[in-house]
Protein backbone atom coordinates (compact mmCIF):
# COMPACT_ATOMS: atom_id res chain seq x y z
CA UNK A 1 0.00 0.00 0.00
CA UNK A 2 1.41 3.32 -1.07
CA UNK A 3 1.19 6.65 0.80
CA UNK A 4 0.36 9.65 -1.38
CA UNK A 5 0.45 13.14 0.08
CA UNK A 6 -1.59 16.13 -1.06
CA UNK A 7 1.69 17.83 -2.00
CA UNK A 8 2.33 15.04 -4.51
CA UNK A 9 -1.27 15.19 -5.77
CA UNK A 10 -0.92 18.94 -6.36
CA UNK A 11 1.94 18.29 -8.79
CA UNK A 12 -0.22 16.02 -11.01
CA UNK A 13 -1.86 17.40 -14.15
CA UNK A 14 -5.46 18.44 -13.61
CA UNK A 15 -7.06 15.59 -15.56
CA UNK A 16 -5.14 12.90 -13.67
CA UNK A 17 -5.86 14.63 -10.36
CA UNK A 18 -9.54 15.09 -11.27
CA UNK A 19 -10.00 11.42 -12.12
CA UNK A 20 -8.16 10.32 -8.98
CA UNK A 21 -9.95 12.53 -6.46
CA UNK A 22 -13.34 11.95 -8.14
CA UNK A 23 -12.92 8.17 -7.79
CA UNK A 24 -11.61 8.27 -4.24
CA UNK A 25 -14.91 9.17 -2.57
CA UNK A 26 -16.52 5.96 -3.79
CA UNK A 27 -19.52 4.84 -5.81
CA UNK A 28 -22.07 7.57 -6.51
CA UNK A 29 -25.83 7.97 -6.78
CA UNK A 30 -25.80 9.12 -10.40
CA UNK A 31 -29.10 10.57 -11.67
CA UNK A 32 -30.53 13.06 -14.17
CA UNK A 33 -31.87 16.36 -12.86
CA UNK A 34 -34.70 17.90 -14.91
CA UNK A 35 -35.56 21.60 -14.74
CA UNK A 36 -37.24 24.26 -16.88
CA UNK A 37 -36.69 27.99 -17.22
CA UNK A 38 -39.25 30.82 -17.22
CA UNK A 39 -39.36 30.71 -21.04
CA UNK A 40 -40.36 27.06 -20.95
CA UNK A 41 -37.06 25.62 -22.20
CA UNK A 42 -36.38 22.31 -20.42
CA UNK A 43 -32.92 21.34 -19.19
CA UNK A 44 -31.54 17.93 -18.30
CA UNK A 45 -28.17 17.34 -16.66
CA UNK A 46 -26.37 14.41 -15.06
CA UNK A 47 -25.40 14.74 -11.40
CA UNK A 48 -23.58 12.16 -9.34
CA UNK A 49 -23.19 13.78 -5.95
CA UNK A 50 -26.67 13.30 -4.51
CA UNK A 51 -27.17 12.50 -0.82
CA UNK A 52 -30.01 11.48 1.44
CA UNK A 53 -30.41 14.20 4.09
CA UNK A 54 -33.35 12.86 6.04
CA UNK A 55 -36.61 10.94 5.79
CA UNK A 56 -38.86 13.15 7.91
CA UNK A 57 -38.98 15.69 6.37
CA UNK A 58 -37.94 13.88 3.17
CA UNK A 59 -34.89 15.86 2.06
CA UNK A 60 -32.23 15.35 -0.61
CA UNK A 61 -29.05 17.33 -1.16
CA UNK A 62 -26.85 17.56 -4.22
CA UNK A 63 -23.63 19.32 -5.15
CA UNK A 64 -23.80 21.79 -8.05
CA UNK A 65 -20.47 22.75 -9.59
CA UNK A 66 -19.38 26.40 -9.86
CA UNK A 67 -21.86 28.53 -11.76
CA UNK A 68 -19.51 29.04 -14.76
CA UNK A 69 -19.19 25.27 -15.21
CA UNK A 70 -22.85 24.28 -14.74
CA UNK A 71 -25.14 27.31 -14.88
CA UNK A 72 -28.49 26.11 -16.26
CA UNK A 73 -29.74 23.67 -13.63
CA UNK A 74 -29.03 26.01 -10.74
CA UNK A 75 -30.48 29.08 -12.50
CA UNK A 76 -33.66 27.17 -13.39
CA UNK A 77 -34.06 25.90 -9.82
CA UNK A 78 -33.61 29.43 -8.49
CA UNK A 79 -36.26 30.69 -10.92
CA UNK A 80 -38.89 27.97 -10.49
CA UNK A 81 -38.02 26.40 -7.07
CA UNK A 82 -38.68 23.06 -8.79
CA UNK A 83 -36.62 20.10 -10.03
CA UNK A 84 -36.90 16.38 -10.70
CA UNK A 85 -34.40 13.56 -10.05
CA UNK A 86 -34.51 10.60 -12.43
CA UNK A 87 -32.62 7.31 -11.97
CA UNK A 88 -30.37 6.10 -14.78
CA UNK A 89 -30.62 2.48 -15.89
CA UNK A 90 -28.66 0.19 -18.18
CA UNK A 91 -30.34 1.22 -21.45
CA UNK A 92 -30.12 5.03 -21.01
CA UNK A 93 -26.74 5.66 -19.36
CA UNK A 94 -25.05 6.65 -22.62
CA UNK A 95 -27.71 9.27 -23.34
CA UNK A 96 -27.54 10.35 -19.70
CA UNK A 97 -23.75 10.83 -19.94
CA UNK A 98 -24.20 12.85 -23.14
CA UNK A 99 -26.19 15.50 -21.20
CA UNK A 100 -22.84 16.54 -19.69
CA UNK A 101 -21.76 18.09 -23.02
CA UNK A 102 -21.66 21.88 -22.84
CA UNK A 103 -24.74 22.69 -24.92
CA UNK A 104 -25.51 26.43 -25.16
CA UNK A 105 -28.33 28.04 -23.16
CA UNK A 106 -31.68 27.66 -24.90
CA UNK A 107 -30.77 24.19 -26.12
CA UNK A 108 -32.72 21.25 -24.65
CA UNK A 109 -30.62 18.21 -23.69
CA UNK A 110 -33.79 16.14 -24.17
CA UNK A 111 -33.73 16.92 -27.91
CA UNK A 112 -29.97 16.50 -28.17
CA UNK A 113 -29.82 13.12 -26.43
CA UNK A 114 -33.14 11.63 -27.51
CA UNK A 115 -34.42 11.20 -23.97
CA UNK A 116 -38.13 11.97 -23.68
CA UNK A 117 -39.46 14.74 -21.43
CA UNK A 118 -42.53 13.80 -19.41
CA UNK A 119 -44.59 16.65 -18.01
CA UNK A 120 -46.94 15.74 -15.21
CA UNK A 121 -50.00 18.05 -15.16
CA UNK A 122 -49.32 19.39 -11.66
CA UNK A 123 -45.49 19.48 -11.72
CA UNK A 124 -43.53 22.24 -13.44
CA UNK A 125 -40.20 20.49 -14.11
CA UNK A 126 -39.83 17.73 -16.70
CA UNK A 127 -39.20 14.11 -15.78
CA UNK A 128 -37.36 11.61 -17.97
CA UNK A 129 -40.04 9.36 -19.47
CA UNK A 130 -37.59 6.42 -19.80
CA UNK A 131 -36.52 6.60 -16.15
CA UNK A 132 -38.06 3.89 -13.96
CA UNK A 133 -37.63 5.64 -10.62
CA UNK A 134 -38.13 9.40 -10.48
CA UNK A 135 -39.20 12.01 -8.01
CA UNK A 136 -40.00 15.71 -7.88
CA UNK A 137 -38.70 18.20 -5.35
CA UNK A 138 -39.25 21.77 -4.30
CA UNK A 139 -36.25 23.93 -3.47
CA UNK A 140 -35.52 24.35 0.23
CA UNK A 141 -32.18 26.11 0.20
CA UNK A 142 -29.04 26.73 -1.82
CA UNK A 143 -25.93 26.79 0.39
CA UNK A 144 -22.80 28.28 -1.23
CA UNK A 145 -19.62 26.33 -0.43
CA UNK A 146 -17.07 29.09 -0.07
CA UNK A 147 -14.00 26.82 -0.34
CA UNK A 148 -14.51 26.12 -4.07
CA UNK A 149 -17.54 28.10 -5.31
CA UNK A 150 -19.76 25.01 -5.50
CA UNK A 151 -23.30 24.88 -4.08
CA UNK A 152 -25.08 22.40 -1.84
CA UNK A 153 -28.70 22.39 -3.01
CA UNK A 154 -31.39 21.05 -0.67
CA UNK A 155 -34.76 19.90 -1.99
CA UNK A 156 -37.89 18.50 -0.35
CA UNK A 157 -39.38 15.44 -2.06
CA UNK A 158 -43.08 15.89 -2.88
CA UNK A 159 -43.94 13.27 -5.53
CA UNK A 160 -42.45 9.86 -6.39
CA UNK A 161 -43.03 7.67 -9.45
CA UNK A 162 -42.01 4.01 -9.45
CA UNK A 163 -43.29 0.50 -9.94
CA UNK A 164 -44.41 -0.71 -6.51
CA UNK A 165 -43.29 -4.27 -7.29
CA UNK A 166 -39.69 -3.27 -6.46
CA UNK A 167 -40.61 -2.02 -2.97
CA UNK A 168 -40.06 -4.54 -0.15
CA UNK A 169 -42.56 -5.12 2.67
CA UNK A 170 -40.61 -2.75 4.92
CA UNK A 171 -40.29 0.08 2.41
CA UNK A 172 -36.79 -0.74 1.08
CA UNK A 173 -36.66 -0.08 -2.67
CA UNK A 174 -34.75 -2.64 -4.74
CA UNK A 175 -33.53 -0.05 -7.23
CA UNK A 176 -31.26 -2.74 -8.71
CA UNK A 177 -34.41 -4.50 -9.96
CA UNK A 178 -35.10 -1.37 -12.04
CA UNK A 179 -31.48 -1.68 -13.25
CA UNK A 180 -30.52 1.64 -11.64
CA UNK A 181 -26.78 2.20 -11.99
CA UNK A 182 -24.07 3.68 -9.85
CA UNK A 183 -21.16 5.71 -11.19
CA UNK A 184 -17.50 6.09 -10.32
CA UNK A 185 -15.32 9.09 -11.02
CA UNK A 186 -16.34 11.29 -13.91
CA UNK A 187 -17.18 8.62 -16.47
CA UNK A 188 -17.39 5.09 -15.04
CA UNK A 189 -20.79 3.34 -15.03
CA UNK A 190 -21.40 0.24 -12.93
CA UNK A 191 -24.23 -2.20 -12.37
CA UNK A 192 -24.70 -3.73 -8.95
CA UNK A 193 -25.40 -7.06 -7.34
CA UNK A 194 -26.94 -7.36 -3.90
CA UNK A 195 -24.85 -9.16 -1.29
CA UNK A 196 -27.35 -8.87 1.54
CA UNK A 197 -29.40 -6.64 3.78
CA UNK A 198 -28.15 -6.73 7.36
CA UNK A 199 -30.29 -6.52 10.49
CA UNK A 200 -30.33 -3.38 12.64
CA UNK A 201 -27.05 -3.38 14.59
CA UNK A 202 -27.38 -3.87 18.36
CA UNK A 203 -24.70 -3.40 21.00
CA UNK A 204 -25.10 -6.93 22.41
CA UNK A 205 -23.80 -8.54 19.23
CA UNK A 206 -20.08 -8.91 18.56
Amino acid sequence: MEKISIDQIKTWDRFYRGNFINSLSGFKSVSLIGTINAEGIPNLAIFSNIVHLGADPALIGFVNRPIEAAPHTLANIQETKSFTINHIHTTIYQQAHQTSAKYPAGCSEFEKTGLTPYFHPTILSPFVEESKIKYALSLEEIIPIKQNSTFFVIGAIHTVFLDKSIVDEDGFIYIDRANSLTSLGLDGYYKTEKIERLPYAKTNRN
Copy 2:
Protein backbone atom coordinates in the same frame (compact mmCIF):
# COMPACT_ATOMS: atom_id res chain seq x y z
CA MET B 1 -45.75 3.14 -12.67
CA GLU B 2 -47.41 4.43 -9.54
CA LYS B 3 -47.58 8.02 -8.31
CA ILE B 4 -46.94 8.47 -4.60
CA SER B 5 -47.39 11.87 -2.96
CA ILE B 6 -45.60 13.19 0.10
CA ASP B 7 -49.00 13.32 1.85
CA GLN B 8 -49.26 9.54 1.43
CA ILE B 9 -45.65 9.05 2.52
CA LYS B 10 -46.31 11.06 5.70
CA THR B 11 -49.01 8.56 6.73
CA TRP B 12 -46.56 5.62 6.62
CA ASP B 13 -44.92 4.35 9.80
CA ARG B 14 -41.47 5.77 10.36
CA PHE B 15 -39.54 2.57 9.62
CA TYR B 16 -41.27 2.02 6.27
CA ARG B 17 -40.86 5.69 5.37
CA GLY B 18 -37.20 5.66 6.47
CA ASN B 19 -36.37 2.63 4.33
CA PHE B 20 -38.22 4.07 1.34
CA ILE B 21 -36.73 7.57 1.38
CA ASN B 22 -33.26 6.24 2.20
CA SER B 23 -33.33 3.96 -0.86
CA LEU B 24 -34.79 6.55 -3.22
CA SER B 25 -31.66 8.68 -3.53
CA GLY B 26 -29.71 5.78 -5.03
CA PHE B 27 -26.53 3.82 -4.39
CA LYS B 28 -24.21 5.33 -1.80
CA SER B 29 -20.51 5.75 -1.17
CA VAL B 30 -20.49 3.84 2.11
CA SER B 31 -17.28 4.14 4.18
CA LEU B 32 -15.99 4.07 7.74
CA ILE B 33 -15.02 7.34 9.40
CA GLY B 34 -12.26 7.11 12.02
CA THR B 35 -11.74 9.75 14.70
CA ILE B 36 -10.23 10.10 18.16
CA ASN B 37 -11.08 12.28 21.14
CA ALA B 38 -8.82 14.38 23.34
CA GLU B 39 -8.55 11.50 25.84
CA GLY B 40 -7.22 9.22 23.10
CA ILE B 41 -10.31 7.04 22.72
CA PRO B 42 -10.76 6.10 19.05
CA ASN B 43 -14.16 6.05 17.36
CA LEU B 44 -15.26 4.31 14.18
CA ALA B 45 -18.63 4.84 12.50
CA ILE B 46 -20.21 3.92 9.19
CA PHE B 47 -21.35 6.77 6.93
CA SER B 48 -23.02 6.42 3.57
CA ASN B 49 -23.69 9.99 2.49
CA ILE B 50 -20.25 11.06 1.33
CA VAL B 51 -19.83 13.30 -1.71
CA HIS B 52 -17.00 14.56 -3.87
CA LEU B 53 -16.97 18.37 -3.60
CA GLY B 54 -14.00 19.20 -5.78
CA ALA B 55 -10.57 18.04 -6.91
CA ASP B 56 -8.61 21.30 -6.58
CA PRO B 57 -8.67 21.84 -3.67
CA ALA B 58 -9.42 18.17 -2.93
CA LEU B 59 -12.58 18.37 -0.82
CA ILE B 60 -15.05 15.81 0.47
CA GLY B 61 -18.40 16.44 2.18
CA PHE B 62 -20.48 14.11 4.31
CA VAL B 63 -23.80 14.28 6.11
CA ASN B 64 -23.74 13.79 9.87
CA ARG B 65 -27.07 12.95 11.49
CA PRO B 66 -28.48 15.08 14.33
CA ILE B 67 -26.14 15.32 17.29
CA GLU B 68 -28.40 13.22 19.57
CA ALA B 69 -28.34 10.35 17.06
CA ALA B 70 -24.63 10.37 16.16
CA PRO B 71 -22.63 12.50 18.61
CA HIS B 72 -19.14 10.99 18.78
CA THR B 73 -17.76 11.43 15.24
CA LEU B 74 -18.80 15.07 15.03
CA ALA B 75 -17.58 15.92 18.54
CA ASN B 76 -14.21 14.30 17.85
CA ILE B 77 -13.82 16.14 14.53
CA GLN B 78 -14.65 19.42 16.27
CA GLU B 79 -12.04 18.69 18.93
CA THR B 80 -9.20 17.46 16.74
CA LYS B 81 -10.04 18.87 13.24
CA SER B 82 -9.01 15.45 11.93
CA PHE B 83 -10.74 12.37 10.48
CA THR B 84 -10.09 9.42 8.17
CA ILE B 85 -12.36 7.81 5.54
CA ASN B 86 -11.88 4.09 4.93
CA HIS B 87 -13.47 2.08 2.10
CA ILE B 88 -15.49 -1.01 2.98
CA HIS B 89 -14.87 -4.22 1.04
CA THR B 90 -16.52 -7.61 0.81
CA THR B 91 -14.81 -9.20 3.82
CA ILE B 92 -15.39 -6.38 6.35
CA TYR B 93 -18.89 -5.03 5.58
CA GLN B 94 -20.52 -6.95 8.41
CA GLN B 95 -18.09 -5.52 10.95
CA ALA B 96 -18.50 -2.11 9.32
CA HIS B 97 -22.30 -2.29 9.67
CA GLN B 98 -21.92 -3.30 13.33
CA THR B 99 -20.25 0.07 14.09
CA SER B 100 -23.75 1.58 13.73
CA ALA B 101 -24.83 0.02 17.05
CA LYS B 102 -25.28 2.65 19.75
CA TYR B 103 -22.21 1.94 21.86
CA PRO B 104 -21.75 4.30 24.82
CA ALA B 105 -19.19 7.12 24.82
CA GLY B 106 -15.74 5.88 25.81
CA CYS B 107 -16.29 2.58 24.02
CA SER B 108 -14.15 1.90 20.92
CA GLU B 109 -15.99 0.42 17.94
CA PHE B 110 -12.63 -1.01 16.86
CA GLU B 111 -12.61 -3.26 19.93
CA LYS B 112 -16.30 -4.09 19.64
CA THR B 113 -16.21 -5.06 15.96
CA GLY B 114 -12.73 -6.56 15.72
CA LEU B 115 -11.55 -4.08 13.08
CA THR B 116 -7.93 -3.02 13.63
CA PRO B 117 -6.97 0.60 14.23
CA TYR B 118 -3.91 1.76 12.30
CA PHE B 119 -2.17 4.89 13.57
CA HIS B 120 0.16 6.58 11.12
CA PRO B 121 2.97 8.43 12.93
CA THR B 122 2.02 11.85 11.56
CA ILE B 123 -1.80 11.52 11.51
CA LEU B 124 -3.93 11.89 14.63
CA SER B 125 -7.05 9.91 13.64
CA PRO B 126 -7.06 6.13 13.31
CA PHE B 127 -7.41 4.37 9.96
CA VAL B 128 -8.92 0.91 9.51
CA GLU B 129 -5.98 -1.45 8.95
CA GLU B 130 -8.12 -3.86 6.87
CA SER B 131 -9.37 -1.13 4.52
CA LYS B 132 -7.67 -1.17 1.11
CA ILE B 133 -8.38 2.44 0.16
CA LYS B 134 -8.23 5.07 2.89
CA TYR B 135 -7.51 8.74 3.21
CA ALA B 136 -7.07 11.36 5.91
CA LEU B 137 -8.70 14.77 6.01
CA SER B 138 -8.52 17.97 7.99
CA LEU B 139 -11.72 19.75 8.92
CA GLU B 140 -12.64 22.71 6.72
CA GLU B 141 -16.14 23.55 7.92
CA ILE B 142 -19.24 22.16 9.61
CA ILE B 143 -22.43 23.56 8.05
CA PRO B 144 -25.60 23.06 10.12
CA ILE B 145 -28.62 22.07 8.00
CA LYS B 146 -31.44 23.93 9.70
CA GLN B 147 -34.26 21.94 8.08
CA ASN B 148 -33.55 18.76 10.05
CA SER B 149 -30.65 19.42 12.48
CA THR B 150 -28.16 17.44 10.41
CA PHE B 151 -24.68 18.73 9.50
CA PHE B 152 -22.78 18.90 6.24
CA VAL B 153 -19.13 18.36 7.16
CA ILE B 154 -16.43 19.46 4.72
CA GLY B 155 -12.91 18.03 4.87
CA ALA B 156 -9.73 18.61 2.87
CA ILE B 157 -7.90 15.45 1.79
CA HIS B 158 -4.24 15.48 2.83
CA THR B 159 -3.02 11.86 2.68
CA VAL B 160 -4.17 8.82 0.68
CA PHE B 161 -3.26 5.14 1.10
CA LEU B 162 -3.94 2.63 -1.65
CA ASP B 163 -2.32 0.05 -3.88
CA LYS B 164 -1.24 1.89 -7.02
CA SER B 165 -1.99 -1.15 -9.18
CA ILE B 166 -5.70 -0.21 -9.14
CA VAL B 167 -5.04 3.30 -10.51
CA ASP B 168 -5.48 3.67 -14.29
CA GLU B 169 -3.06 5.61 -16.51
CA ASP B 170 -5.31 8.67 -16.34
CA GLY B 171 -5.77 8.65 -12.56
CA PHE B 172 -9.13 6.81 -12.44
CA ILE B 173 -9.17 4.45 -9.43
CA TYR B 174 -10.75 1.04 -10.04
CA ILE B 175 -12.10 0.80 -6.50
CA ASP B 176 -14.05 -2.29 -7.60
CA ARG B 177 -10.70 -4.10 -7.95
CA ALA B 178 -10.21 -3.50 -4.21
CA ASN B 179 -13.75 -4.94 -3.76
CA SER B 180 -15.06 -1.62 -2.42
CA LEU B 181 -18.83 -1.85 -1.92
CA THR B 182 -21.75 0.47 -2.37
CA SER B 183 -24.77 0.55 -0.07
CA LEU B 184 -28.48 1.11 -0.53
CA GLY B 185 -30.90 2.39 2.07
CA LEU B 186 -29.97 1.79 5.69
CA ASP B 187 -28.79 -1.80 5.46
CA GLY B 188 -28.31 -3.06 1.88
CA TYR B 189 -24.77 -3.90 0.72
CA TYR B 190 -23.96 -4.35 -2.97
CA LYS B 191 -20.95 -5.30 -5.03
CA THR B 192 -20.48 -3.72 -8.44
CA GLU B 193 -19.55 -4.69 -11.97
CA LYS B 194 -18.12 -2.19 -14.44
CA ILE B 195 -20.15 -1.63 -17.60
CA GLU B 196 -17.80 0.90 -19.17
CA ARG B 197 -16.05 4.22 -18.94
CA LEU B 198 -17.44 6.71 -21.43
CA PRO B 199 -15.46 9.37 -23.29
CA TYR B 200 -15.79 13.05 -22.38
CA ALA B 201 -19.14 14.22 -23.81
CA LYS B 202 -18.90 16.72 -26.67
CA THR B 203 -21.73 18.75 -28.21
CA ASN B 204 -21.06 17.51 -31.75
CA ARG B 205 -22.11 13.98 -30.88
CA ASN B 206 -25.77 12.94 -30.85
